[in-house]
Amino acid sequence: AQRVTQPEKLLSVFKGAPVELKCNYSYSGSPELFWYVQYSRQRLQLLLRHISRESIKGFTADLNKGETSFHLKKPFAQEEDSAMYYCALSMGGNKLVFGAGTILRVKS
């Protein structure tokens, strides 16, 4: 069965420190993975997807099939990065399985 695991409920870092939000998945097929972000009082929105291999707002995520991971990284955290982050796996098209989410708090 498809499953997405985000082991940390809360990650607290200081401004300027590196950030890594962990995501592991379980899927027998060829995975398509996403990171979604929800800022305070805003809607859930796409941050990035592994297919595009882009850097969005300084965040990157590399799919590691050997470790079945898709960790989200940013070298220098900013206060505006504070939000809830969800890792998601596509079950086909835009039907997604979400992880439990990680709250990122960036302290000044």
């Binding site: 809607r43 859930l44 595009s52 835009n94 039907k95 992880g99 989410g101």
Partner: protein, 116 residues
């Protein structure tokens, strides 16, 4: 991005009653999805609503409990029937719009439901 209006934004309901949640999109979209987020949990897909056909439900969700309508390409409703406190959750509408480029899946702001 697609603009999704979801109503109501929140409601407090009595056990045994039903609530219908509306999702309106500013453009025609092919697929609409309904998710549930229980307190402290992740988002779970309830069903996919396609215009002109019955909704497709995920494991653990049934039409009698969560009937869905999709009368046209811009609108859908989800009804939570015969509610119990376990139905207290955030319910989210999302739409797939392949014409929007990079971001193809958009989410509404959610309906926070509390059942007493």
């Amino acid at each position: 991005s697609a603009v999704i209006s979801q109503k109501p934004s929140r409601d407090i309901c009595q056990r045994g009653t039903s609530l219908t949640i509306q999702c309106q999109v500013d453009s025609q979209v092919t697929m609409m999805f309904w998710y549930r987020q229980q307190p402290g949990q992740s988002l779970t897909l309830i069903a996919t609503a396609n215009q002109g056909s019955e909704a497709t439900y995920e494991s653990g969700f049934v039409i009698d409990k969560f009937p869905i309508s999709r009368p046209n390409l811009t609108f859908s409703t989800l009804t939570v029937s015969n509610m119990s406190p376990e139905d207290s959750s955030i319910y989210l509408c999302s739409v797939e719009d392949r014409s929007r480029g990079y971001e193809k899946l958009f989410f509404g702001s959610g309906t926070q439901l509390s059942v007493l």
